[in-house]
Symmetry: C2
Subunit: 153 residues, 2 copies
DNA sequence: AAGATAAATGATATGATATATCATTAATTA
DNA sequence: TAATTAATGATATATCATATCATTTATCTT
């Protein structure tokens, strides 16, 4: 079984456990995100959905399904790009951490890594010392991936 | 002289030194950002521009002026909000640091603090260890400000 | 199983954000 | 002062996102 099917199967199981309704369409949308090596916009997803599923789907529905996926940590929205990616932890049992996205400026691939505890602590400390309380953090960092860094030299 | 005028004057001087053309319209747009206690969208700025300057201005021009302001570190774009704020350091001689924005979820006020060296180092280290190289960081953190945290309790 | 209820999706319209492009005006410079 | 460049205007359109009401599908209750 390939990686994608494996990931989907794990999402199925996780959804069942959590009592979530990963409907065929939501599942298919999720598979499109899983299969993509770059983030996709809602409209790009609608196009791919039609191409691969043979059925046109309104943008409204795509946004709703993306809401479902992001609310249930199967996907994330990259606010700096207005695009969506599958969650790197959707297929494992890792507790969901503060996500940190390394976005390659050149090839647009994204790597999601969990934020390190020391970074988080330092961040929270700096927020506290400004008199604020942290509610939610999602770090999006503009980077070059190794391949692109090499190509750019 | 009030704070706003003072800030503008410092921006004038800094622009002159740097050979930037802070035209009357750019300057006025900047003053709108300085005067606002919350981030503003380009279209909100266009409205305020008309209201306060007596002259309608096309959205395109607002975006161009915002490009100028952001490129020259007089303003920042908050990508998670699609809104713009004046730079907290536009009026001082601080070297421009990696900005960290504390955005109050409730009242939408934003506090810009410089990222602490330890946070930055830890961040860079985590990026490096993922095989990426950091190009640009702008942290946008969803928080509650002190006043709103109290009101919410 | 039948009907009631709720959840998901479709259809349509529209709002909000942003950029492309060419024309015009203003500033700079040769 | 003419030539050139930079800034802004005008217009159109692309792109991202949500509001709202209708319809279909799933789930629950009896």
């Amino acid at each position: 079984m390939n990686q994608l099917d494996d990931a989907l199967q794990q999402a199925d199981q996780a959804s069942t456990r959590a009592g979530l309704k990963l409907t065929p369409k939501r599942r298919h949308l999720f598979s499109l995100l899983l299969a993509s090596d770059t983030p996709l916009s809602a409209y790009e997803l609608a196009d791919r959905f039609k191409d691969s599923f043979g059925q046109a789907i309104p943008a409204m529905s795509v946004y709703r399904m993306l809401d479902f996926l992001t609310e249930n940590n199967l996907a994330h929205k990259l606010t700096s790009e207005n695009k969506f990616v599958s969650c790197a932890h959707s297929t494992c049992n890792h507790a969901h951490q503060v996500p940190q996205f390394l976005i390659c400026e050149r090839c647009h691939q994204v790597k999601e890594v969990g934020i390190k505890k020391e970074v988080f602590d330092a961040l929270r400390e700096s927020v506290d010392s400004a008199g604020y309380s942290l509610r939610e953090a999602q770090l999006e960092l503009k980077c070059l991936c190794a391949a692109c860094a090499e190509a750019t030299e």
